[in-house]
């Protein structure tokens, strides 16, 4: 009897929690739905004023009007077509640049941070504390703050207007080092001791441990990919040729009012810019969460 009772109250509790979440979800998702429907709207439809007040929500006309401004009148592919053929920005070039630079940064950051994290967690060396403080400082001083001197330094190196000018500075990350330090600490010391007793070199031990932490590698790579995908200031300073630019800059250009880009094209570009990161996350968010859970507590 008691069991059934608690199951019932459990169901009630779960329903109430779900209901409480609905308004949040609506607030978060409404603009996204609006964006997707915006792809198919003409400028005239897009700027239709939303004047639903002072009509009452009980009125059927209210809902009609709301639906009318929300949904497109027809599914016209014109806006997508204009974006894809590169009428406003060289879309495919820009997408490819963004992909290359984000993947490059993610792979580089994972490699560097994993090596450094391994050294912090498992090796002994002088001034470890000082190095660690430097890593913390790296987190605290955002790259954006010193974008201008970095930009002029990249010019000196001859990396201006090159994708490497974005990738190479993007591989150092304090967050990654701390993350991998924690990850390597979680692995029992005995594993590496066994490997060492068998005569493996330090680098061999490291490579062996890497195969154990692949969920962590995936998780950090994903986070870094997303952050790199969003980077705006440095690419804007460094990349000047249009076909070299990355997505956020192309988007900013589309949004610029003086360009008179149709709203539908802007919305199509926005939607496409969201797909890679969303897909990546949807595919591996379970692995990501469990590897975070292992690490975050203690």
């Amino acid at each position: 009897m008691k069991n059934i009772d608690s199951a019932k109250s459990g169901f009630l509790r779960r329903s109430v929690s779900t209901l409480l979440l609905v308004p949040f979800l609506l607030a978060v998702l409404y603009p996204f739905l609006w964006m997707v429907f915006g792809i198919f709207k003409t400028n005239h439809e897009f700027f239709q004023p939303l004047r639903i007040w002072p009509m009452k929500p009980l009125n059927g006309e209210y809902w009609m009007k709301l639906a009318d401004t929300f949904f497109p009148n027809e599914l016209s592919m014109r806006n997508i077509h204009e974006l894809v053929i590169g009428k406003w920005v060289p879309f495919w070039d820009v997408l490819l640049n963004s992909m290359l630079s984000s993947f490059g940064q993610a792979i580089g950051a994972v490699a560097l941070s994993a090596m450094t994290g391994y050294a912090f967690a498992r090796l002994k060396f002088h001034w470890k504390n000082i190095y660690f403080v430097i890593v913390l400082a790296l987190i605290l001083v955002p790259r954006q703050l010193f974008a201008v001197p970095l930009f002029s330094w990249l010019n000196t190196l001859g990396l201006n207007d090159s994708i490497f000018g974005i990738i190479l500075p993007g591989v150092i990350t304090g967050l990654g080092v701390i993350y991998f330090t924690q990850v390597f600490r979680k692995i029992p010391v005995e594993y590496s001791q066994v490997a060492r007793t068998c005569g493996a070199s330090e680098f061999r031990v490291f490579l062996t441990l890497l195969s154990l932490i692949w969920p962590a590698i995936l998780s950090y790579g994903m986070i870094h990919f997303v952050l790199a995908w969003h980077e705006h200031l440095l690419p804007m300073l460094v990349l000047s040729t249009e076909s070299q630019q990355t997505l956020p800059i192309a988007l900013a250009k589309l949004y610029d009012v003086s360009q008179r880009t149709p709203q539908g094209v802007q919305m199509a570009a926005s939607t496409f810019s969201l797909i890679p990161t969303a897909l990546l996350f949807a595919l591996c968010h379970r692995k990501f969460k469990s590897s975070l859970s292992d690490m975050l507590v203690h």
Binding site: P49, W53, A119, L175, S270, L274, F281
Partner: protein, 298 residues
Amino acid sequence: MESRAQPVIKATGGVGWAPFIFLFPFLFFLSLFWVLPLLGGVKMSLESNGLGAVEFVGFKNYYALANDERYFKSICNSLIYTLASVVLIVPMSLWLAHLLQSTFRRLRPMLTFGLLLPALTPPSVLATLFLMVFHGREGLLNQLFIIPIGLAPINWLKDPNFILLGLVLQTVWRWTGFMTFFIMAGMEGIPKAYYEAAKLATSSRWDHFIHITLPQLRSVLIFISIYLLVDGFSLFSGAFILLGGSGGTADAGLLTISYVFQKTRFFEYGSAAAISVSLLPLMLLSLYTIILLRRRYI
């Protein structure tokens, strides 16, 4: 970090050159793309403005900053913006994480992903979508909430009283879901046995939350707060799209990075670098706080 003395055993590794081979790539990139630009920034801040031949001017740029009202305004705005976002996001994501934990198991991944979506979206896209919600009169916020309760429609992005609030709400919208995800990962890592033990003492969920969940989540919460603080200070893209790189009416939305960017637009590199360098003491102070926190709580 690992400051306690360890007995010297060969098996713990890190003898000879190994640590430096592991650290070298990171230190190489760190000095090339972080330390040098930082020093370059310090040097730049001591030089005159303009594009052509620059000359050494000593602390002139800093004296100019001391009399620059917009500089103090931008620092003040950034501080308010950053603190407000932390204060709003952390409790809200705690609550949302709790709600998500107590919804139906099958719905959970979908709901979480929905809340996460804004964090995966490039900030420039978010800003554009937000613009629609925050539009002068026809915006959703005005039509659904402000006008129906009998207030005059708020011109969110033009009225100096509301610009900063708009930026804060945008950050809340962007990061709350992501932080919820982190907190959920942290919650899943708490051993169930703790709760079962606590049930013997008290059945109050609130007590469980205060005495088990919150202390167990402290490293997650500290991590989130640091992340938000750094991100708040380096916000660029969102404000750039919403306010077109300006500070908005009466500079009410002028953030530090936007101000640095404005300076570079007029090629006032010396002043721009001086602003960046002047923030370093603030960063060092927070670095010191984090080190203290780590000693005491983590």
